[in-house]
């Protein structure tokens, strides 16, 4: 069934189809229509879930953490400063190994206040131990959110599905809505290995020592370091889980095939421009223009950002002469986060560094600055000609000091 709806509604429909049992959320632009849709579905009896209108985002994720610990399938959504407010809980959910799914309608962070789209909110969470997926259109939003529940419950790691605020959250596009019956086998009910239960009492996430220590059976239990190591190991394994989940979903719905990176005209490309989210689809228009001018250029969309699919990224790029990374966030004090991660992947996987492509980072759309296709094309033309503007922030309009 195809409908024409917003990205936020696409996400909400996925949450409904996934059978989330507890939803907690606090309103923040541009996420609000997502949770409003969920409230409508629940109040209308179309979705059997508990809806908790919490008094802050920190509490939103607190409710999800607790409900998930008690064995319920849970969901929340937020943006920008809301995500930052729950940052402590974001770390907590990962360390507690809870399969929470959260949608982030990407928005710029304060200060100063800004309600428009960039990726700084979710990119700033990349170290927390969550799986992060970036959706490029409404179809991916609904598909990625559905897959997220299965990936989370398979790995016991929370998943963040990120999509551009306003550009995707509020625009209308046609997309297919899977049938509930088709999803029964893809996503069975949630059965955690442990849920809070008086019949099997345990104390979860209490103070954990640096050193290992004997448990009540007299056996050596892990210390904090081992618990954290296993999060990292399971996260790295989640690359494979993402691929397997995508394959299983493809069997059900017929869509998928590029769960880690999504290439466009990269097979014979000398140059590749890399991005995340809706920007990568806009870059396809740029690629068409530049191809017509004789450049062999392609686009690589990074879909799974954490765990970073370093092998897949390196494999897609190692034959290129040059790589341009275009992103809507950065690690302040250094450079674009994706740019750094990508360079590290190339360094790791290309034994003869002399054959590695050059990498140039570009920043676009910070605080929702309009990303005009012409500006992207000009920036890449300059890059292809061997010069990158300083600063490398596209469409910036610095005023000379008086």
């Amino acid at each position: 069934m195809h409908i024409i709806e917003t990205g936020n509604v696409a996400a909400a429909l996925a949450v409904k189809l996934a059978g989330a049992q507890v939803v907690a959320a606090y309103p923040i632009t541009p996420q609000t229509p997502l949770t409003e849709k969920l409230a409508e579905l629940i109040e209308a009896g179309e979705m059997d879930a508990r809806y908790v209108p919490v008094e802050s985002e920190h509490s939103a994720l607190a409710v999800c953490i607790a409900a998930s610990s008690a064995g319920a399938r849970t969901f929340t959504a937020t943006s920008a400063n809301g995500l930052l407010y729950m940052h402590e809980q974001v770390h907590w959910a990962a360390g507690a190994r809870l399969p929470i799914v959260m949608c982030v309608a990407n928005r710029a962070v304060g200060a100063p206040w800004n309600i428009w789209n960039d990726h700084q909110d979710s990119v700033s969470q990349r170290d927390t131990g969550w799986i992060q997926v970036y959706s490029c259109d409404h179809q991916q939003i609904i598909d990625d959110t559905l897959k997220a529940f299965r990936i989370a419950e398979t790995t016991s790691i929370p998943v963040m599905v990120c999509y551009d605020g306003y550009l995707l959250s509020h625009t209308y596009m046609p997309f297919a809505v899977p049938q509930q019956e088709d999803l029964e086998r893809f996503l069975p009910p949630f059965h955690p290995s442990y849920a809070l239960d008086p019949h099997s009492p345990a104390n979860l996430n209490t103070v954990t020592l640096p050193e290992t220590r004997l448990d009540v059976h007299g056996e050596l239990a892990h210390g904090y370091m081992e618990i954290r190591y296993l999060l990292q190991e399971d996260l790295r394994d989640a690359v494979q889980v993402a691929e397997e989940t995508d394959a299983a979903y493809q069997e059900v719905c017929g869509r998928g095939g590029a769960p880690l990176v999504e290439p466009y005209r990269c097979d014979d490309a000398e140059y590749v421009v890399v991005g995340m989210g809706s920007l990568t689809y806009q870059l396809r228009d740029v690629v068409e223009t530049l191809r017509a001018e004789g450049h062999r250029i392609g686009v690589l969309g990074v879909r799974l950002y954490r765990p970073f699919p370093d092998a897949a990224v390196a494999a897609a790029l190692k034959g290129a002469r040059g790589v341009f990374v275009m992103e809507k966030a950065l690690s302040y004090g250094y450079e674009g986060a994706l740019c750094s991660d990508l360079k590290a992947a190339l360094y790791e996987h290309i034994p003869d560094k002399g054959t590695a492509p050059f990498v140039r980072g570009l920043i676009a759309g910070i605080g929702g600055r309009e990303i005009r296709t012409a500006d992207l094309t000009d920036a890449l033309r300059s890059g292809l000609a061997g010069s990158v503007s300083r600063p490398n922030w596209i469409a910036i309009q610095l005023q000379e000091p008086s």
């Binding site: 016991s156 009492p201 104390n203 979860l204 209490t206 954990t208 892990h222 618990i227 394994d237």
Partner: protein
Amino acid sequence: MGTRGYRYKTSHSLPGPGDGGNTGSWRVQRPVIDLERCTPAKRGREACFTCWLYCPDCVVSRTIPPAIDLEYCKGCGICAEECPTGAIAMVDESVFHEHVEG
């Protein structure tokens, strides 16, 4: 959970005594019950048990007479202070340990 078969992927503690080890070693004084003043001991039946009520550490048994679990008793003295008949005295630990010559 996850893709590998390790136990303890999370901080998951099971109930058991002695989390703090031998907390009896914290004691400077230990409670000693005078059975001739202890009400349940004297009456030979359930009575009083004020010491059992107020013990913060679950080391007083609700038996006739009450008994102190010296493995874990921290020697706070609340039982001695609250006993209505003054049947419990706090006695210096050193009395119960052999004096080891240098």
